[in-house]
Amino acid sequence: MNEKILEIDDLTVSFDGFKALNHLNFSLDIGELRVIIGPNGAGKTTFLDIITGKTKPTEGQVRFKGRNLRPYAEHQIAQMGVGRKFQTPRVYLNLTPRENLEIACNRQKTVIHTLFRKTLNAERRTVVGLLETIGLSHKADMKANLLSHGEKQWLEIGMLVAQSPDLLLVDEPVAGLTDEETEKTGELLLSLAESHSIIVIEHDMEFVRQIAKGTVTVLHQGSVLCEGTIDEVQTDPRVVEVYLGQEIHTNGPVNLEDTAELLGVLEGS
């Protein structure tokens, strides 16, 4: 058996009685790349909120490298080695990509060190390497608010890596990207998977196919609906029903194109 980097037992989170996560069990091996899919509102983002300490569980616990995370604040969990990319890209728009990365790269994140210690050459070199990896070397010294959406997504992934975490949590990294950008992002994640444990949350099935080499987890109404390879998951009748059911029961006008696409994807076209 592989050792687990993340174990989640019987986790429940309720917001005023509404259970965003409901008796959820989950575990992740060291070095694994796991994709989580699920309809809107399934609790995927809440799941990451719990791991990163933004929200505390109502019941159950999360163990990272064997340690219960409940007593720790967000920054402490980050220092233990959990890095998170948000659903909408969140980079510091008034700083340059280089500065963004330097902030993430800083080894000692105390007030004193940040104030008095110069940026180490090793850190600078890491930053330069990362700039190249994410393809932003030529835009390293312009303000990040001039970057395109895709570049911001990559910069944020770069910031994650700069933190040198052991576990990367990536929430919808290709939302709003072009096909080409999506594929590049996939390659980037796959190369990161060689040295990190990664959880990727994604809606885009084509992208999921590109990166999901192992297990895919389907979340639905706050619990794990099923787990398996991408092919198993896509043909699982429960999954098909969840995706279709959601489309049919929405109150608003049903987007036929989306439904058709979904049907196509789920039938493993």
């Binding site: 104030l115 330069v128 390293a140």
Partner: protein, 388 residues
């Protein structure tokens, strides 16, 4: 490629060093002008006013640090400013040598014994120390309570405002301890020099200039390196900073305390030059004025804070001499105007339109002054989006 980028970042460092030297030269030139030329150009009365405005520029720098860079709109700097003033005034009001009597207002209200907390102010070094440290400590404690509980935005402003009201009422009501509403005034001598003497006031004016430079240098140091970039990051997205592994609380407390200390120093220098400190400067209106100075000059620019404080107060003194009832409307209008038309203040406007205007006037186009234009990603971006 990787080496290129590293070299590029070294190049950036060199450029930074050169612009730092230029900046030092400019600061020195302005200081020399203010110290040696200005006294010949304006009356002693006006010079004293200028000294006061420069003192206000120091608290404006503090506001810029906490609001402009860190994004925390403090309406409590009146507290720190006034307490800095009191710390010095208490020393000046104590008859020397120790034990030779009470400040006159105390005997007037029938006090017989000096309250315990007045005693340390017999000591000049303690008082000088207290000018900056007491406001810093109060700011630190206030900040600790507020930031630890993750109170931000409007709630932070409201809390600091509430604190201002509490302090105002306390000082205003303590007739026997602080002479209440009237405050402390009628200082005779400061460190052996007669306070009201023109020569003394000139020395105080110079001291104020030196402190503006010092405050500016400290703020520049705090905001230019990685620490400063982190402040901007906290301002723009605090929770992102947390998820990157920093605890913003300590950073915010430190900045708030430094900013409080600057306000205290400003208050002491102002008190010496205006001859009075009273709870009046703990009015909410005054703390809001400070914010207006910084907004007018330009947030997060430092220079803008100094410029804004001096210009707005200059306008205030000139206008209220001519039209005494008019100033408040003008100030309100000015604030609206800046918020609507110059959201990044005078300096922000100068940086964008001013540079273009200058180049147009001198006939330089951007192309001929910018050899690396073709590779500049920013220009590329602009071309793409705005059209060449």
């Amino acid at each position: 490629m990787a080496v290129d980028t590293l070299v590029q970042s070294r190049g950036v460092d060199l450029a930074k060093r050169r612009s730092l030297l230029i900046e030092i030269a400019i600061v020195a030139a302005i200081a020399l002008f203010l110290i040696f030329a200005l006294p010949w150009l304006i009356s002693a009365f006006r010079l004293n006013l200028m000294g006061r405005f420069l003192a206000l520029a120091i608290v404006a720098l503090g506001i810029d640090l906490i609001w402009g860079f860190t994004g925390l709109l403090s309406l409590g700097h009146g507290i720190f400013f006034t307490i800095g003033g009191y710390a010095l005034a208490m020393h000046l009001k104590l008859p020397q040598p120790p034990g030779s009597g009470l400040p006159e207002f105390m005997s007037l209200y029938g006090g017989t014994e000096l309250p315990w907390f007045w005693r340390p102010f017999y000591s000049a070094p303690f008082s000088l120390f207290a000018i900056a440290v007491i406001p810093a400590v109060i700011a630190g404690i206030l900040g600790y309570v507020i930031f630890r509980n993750r109170i931000r935005g409007v709630y932070f402003s409201i809390l600091t405002q509430a604190a201002t009201i509490i302090f105002f009422n306390f000082f205003n009501g303590q007739q026997k301890l602080f002479n209440g509403t009237n405050g402390l005034t009628d200082f005779r001598s400061v460190f052996g020099l007669p306070v009201k003497d023109n020569r003394t006031q000139y020395i105080l004016y110079i001291v104020t200039i030196l402190f503006v430079i010092l405050a500016y240098a400290v703020c520049r140091w705090l905001t230019s390196g990685r620490f400063g970039r982190l402040l901007v990051a906290i301002r723009d997205d605090e929770s992102r900073v947390r998820f990157t592994g920093y605890n913003p609380t300590g950073f915010k407390i430190l900045v708030f305390a430094v900013s409080g200390a600057l306000a205290g120093i400003a208050g002491a220098l102002y008190t010496l030059q205006s001859g009075i400190v009273s709870p009046n400067t703990m009015n909410i209106a005054f703390s809001i004025e400070m914010v207006i100075w910084v907004a007018v000059g330009g947030r997060a620019t430092l220079v803008g804070a100094i410029l804004g404080a001096v210009l707005v107060n200059l306008a205030k003194s000139l206008l209220s001499e001519q039209f005494p009832d008019f100033w408040l409307f003008f100030q309100g209008g000015l604030f609206l105007l800046v918020v609507l038309l110059l959201p990044s203040g005078l300096i922000g406007w100068l940086r964008t339109s001013g540079v273009d205007l200058y180049k147009q006037l001198t006939g330089q186009t951007r192309l001929s002054t910018y050899p690396s234009l073709e590779e500049d990603p920013e220009v590329e971006y602009e071309r793409k989006n705005i059209g060449d």
